[in-house]
Symmetry: C2
Subunit: 122 residues, 2 copies
C-alpha cells in the first residue's frame, strides 16, 4: 500500500486553484469590475455607463454587458416608453462578490503600501 503524505492537501490545493482561476476568469479583463460596481451604485442606461466609465468604447461595453448578463451579474430591462428605455441594473448576485472584493481590496491596499515603502528604502 502506497501512501504519499503530500498528496492529500496537494489535491485539495489543485482543486482550490481551479476555483480561484475560475473566479479570476469571470472577473478578469479591464472593465468587468468597473461596470459591475458602477451598476451596483445605481442602475444606468448604455450611454450613462459609457460616461461614468470614461474610456470604454461602445463595442467593448456592449461585449461586457452581454457577458455580465450571461453570468447573471446584471439584467437588461426594456421599458416600453417612447422611445424605449433600456436600463441595466445589478442583480442580487452581484452582492455575492462582497467578501471577495473586500479581501482583494484590503490586500491590494497593503501590497501597494508595502511595495512603495520597500522601494524607498532601497
Amino acid at each position: 500500500m502506497i501512501i504519499d503524505n503530500n498528496i492529500p492537501d496537494k489535491d485539495a490545493c489543485a482543486d482550490s486553484l481551479k476555483h480561484v482561476l475560475d473566479a479570476l476568469y469571470v472577473l478578469g479583463g479591464k472593465w468587468k469590475l468597473p461596470v459591475i460596481l458602477s451598476l451596483v451604485q445605481s442602475s444606468k442606461r448604455f450611454n450613462e455607463i459609457q460616461y461614468a466609465l470614461s474610456g470604454i468604447s461602445p463595442k467593448v461595453l456592449a461585449q461586457e454587458l452581454k457577458d455580465l448578463e450571461l453570468n447573471e451579474f446584471i439584467t437588461r430591462q426594456v421599458y416600453p416608453t417612447t422611445p424605449v428605455t433600456i436600463v441595466y441594473e445589478a442583480t442580487e448576485y452581484s452582492h455575492t462578490l462582497k467578501n471577495v472584493l473586500r479581501e482583494l481590496s484590503a490586500w491590494g491596499e497593503q501590497h501597494r503600501e508595502k511595495i512603495r515603502s520597500s522601494l524607498k528604502t532601497k
Copy 2:
C-alpha cells in the same frame, strides 16, 4: 452650498476599486498563482517548477519568477555547490494571500455550480 449625497461612498468605492485592480494586476495572468502555490508546497529549482507546471515555457517561467521576486512572493537562493544550485522558495509574504485565495476559491466554486445548474434548467 452643494452637497451630493452620492459622493461620499462613491469616492470610497472608487478607491476600493483601485485597490482591487492593483491586486488583480499582481495576481493576474496565466501562471502567477500556479507558480506561487507550487512553491508554497515545496521549494523548487527552475527545471522542477517547469516540470511541476506542465505547459509553461522557460521564457514565461523566467519572466514570472522575476516578477514574483520583485513583488516579494518568492526568493531566489543561490547555493555555491558545484555546480551552483538555484532554489526558488515562497516567502512568508505569500501567506498574506491566504484570505484572498480562500474567498476567491469559495466564490469561484459556488459560481461554477450556479452557472452549471442554471444552464441545465434552461
